[in-house]
């Protein structure tokens, strides 16, 4: 799923030949869009409008050096969490020690060694894309729990309401009323139980989410069912309930949800 997406990579080096070497290496081996800059200023300009998946930045540049460039890049919201790999000469001991103190995720050493440079780039690209994917999945999970809580609350509302009426006003209700209310109580409990069972099953599998199987349903029948469930509760609160649904109206819905 992640393999298919094209990633955006920013390459910054004051020497255009270096940029081209890295760019060619990436374009030959990875599915990437490359954006290039030969100064920190230029990099800042480009990155205002583009979300990157990885930034490769030379440490030693005139005017604004790589460290300063990264500090400014990270203060821009679209790219503040993007991993930065610094391009550093193997001999540049001062540069190497500054890289990790200043938010560098890793180093690509000059002279470039194709295989190891590519391996490092790939590791950080994949890790960042997985991080993004994970964040999205967590959001979906949170939304799922909200929907779930809402769905569970509905049958419990009628269970609580009906059992309250039966508990407090049992003697005032006639036989038919009790029978209907108990039936609705049973059906609501059953619905809640079904939902919990499905949830348990989903939890056990953890491989798939609950399935949604929509079928043709008569809308009026569904509304009438709700009316039966709510009838006694609405009466209790003196609420008048009217429905106006076309008999022929059909909707696609999954009744187990």
């Amino acid at each position: 799923m992640m393999e298919s997406s094209v990633r955006n990579v920013l390459i910054v080096d004051d020497i255009i030949d270096n940029v081209k070497i890295i760019e060619n290496l990436l374009l030959k081996n990875e599915r990437v869009n490359t954006y290039i800059a030969t100064s920190g200023e230029q990099a800042l300009g480009i990155s205002r409008n583009i979300c990157f998946d990885l930034m490769l930045i030379d440490v030693r540049m005139p005017d604004m050096d790589g460290i300063e460039t990264v500090r400014k890049l990270k203060s821009q919201t679209p790219n503040k969490d993007v991993p930065v790999l610094f391009l550093v000469a193997k001999m540049d001991k001062d540069g190497i020690s500054r890289v990790f103190e200043n938010g560098g995720a890793d180093i690509i050493y000059k002279p470039f060694h194709y295989e190891s440079s590519l391996a490092r780039i790939k590791v950080h690209l994949d890790a960042f894309c997985q991080k993004i994917q994970l964040k999205k999945m967590l959001k979906v999970r949170d939304r799922f729990f909200t929907v779930l809580a809402h769905d569970l609350r509905a049958p419990f509302t009628s269970i609580l309401g009906l059992s309250e009426i039966l508990h407090h006003r049992f003697d005032q209700l006639d036989h038919e009323d009790r029978k209907t209310q108990l039936k609705v109580l049973y059906e609501s409990s059953n619905k809640a139980f079904e939902l919990l069972s499905e949830l348990l099953e989903w939890g056990a599998n953890l491989k798939s989410v609950m399935t949604f199987n929509p079928e043709r349903q008569n809308l009026l029948a569904i509304v009438e069912e709700c009316q039966t469930i709510l009838k006694y509760l609405l009466n209790e609160k003196n609420i008048l309930f009217e429905t106006s649904v076309d008999k022929a109206c059909v909707v696609m819905a999954d009744q187990t949800c």
Binding site: I15, M91, F112
Partner: protein
């Protein structure tokens, strides 16, 4: 400085103009020139690409070593432009790296690296030599090396 084109059949000889009169630096420069000449012989004898690339690796590694030892030496003699010289080394390594990836063939790389060696030795390293002479600094490092010891 005019670039010299290497005659592939001719050994790359040490020239007196390369001398810095600093024993250790001259010794390392001589080894470096020998490595470049070995590369010339490799091309001449049609070594396969993999073998020639291994030789380039060796040249790069040696160059890194040499620059480090030269920088250490500059710090020890309190050379006033040590930092500038270090930056020049970084630039040179950068050029070497680019050339390695951009040259179309090994012959082109051989010419580049020889001229690269000559120009740096004749300009920047000569300045170290002048500084040593002007300040009458003694440099005895490595002077006792005798490769014929024990034979």
């Amino acid at each position: 400085m005019n670039k010299q084109s290497i005659e592939i059949n001719t050994k790359l000889e040490w020239k007196s103009e390369f001398d810095t009169d600093i024993f250790r630096i001259d010794l390392e420069h001589r080894i470096f020139l020998e490595l470049i000449d070995s590369f010339r012989i490799g091309i001449l004898n049609n070594y396969d690409d993999e073998r020639l690339l291994r030789m380039i690796n060796e040249i790069e590694k040696y160059q890194e070593f040499h620059f480090t030892s030269e920088e250490n030496f500059l710090i020890d003699i309190e050379y006033p432009n040590t930092h500038k010289h270090q930056l020049i080394h970084l630039d040179l390594m950068e050029k070497l790296n680019i050339e390695r990836h951009n040259t179309r063939n090994f012959n082109e790389y051989l010419n580049f690296i020889y001229n690269w060696f000559v120009s740096h030795t004749l300009t920047e390293d000569k300045k170290i030599s002048d500084y040593i002479k002007d300040n009458k600094i003694g440099t005895n490092t490595f002077k006792n090396i005798n490769i014929n010891d024990g034979k």
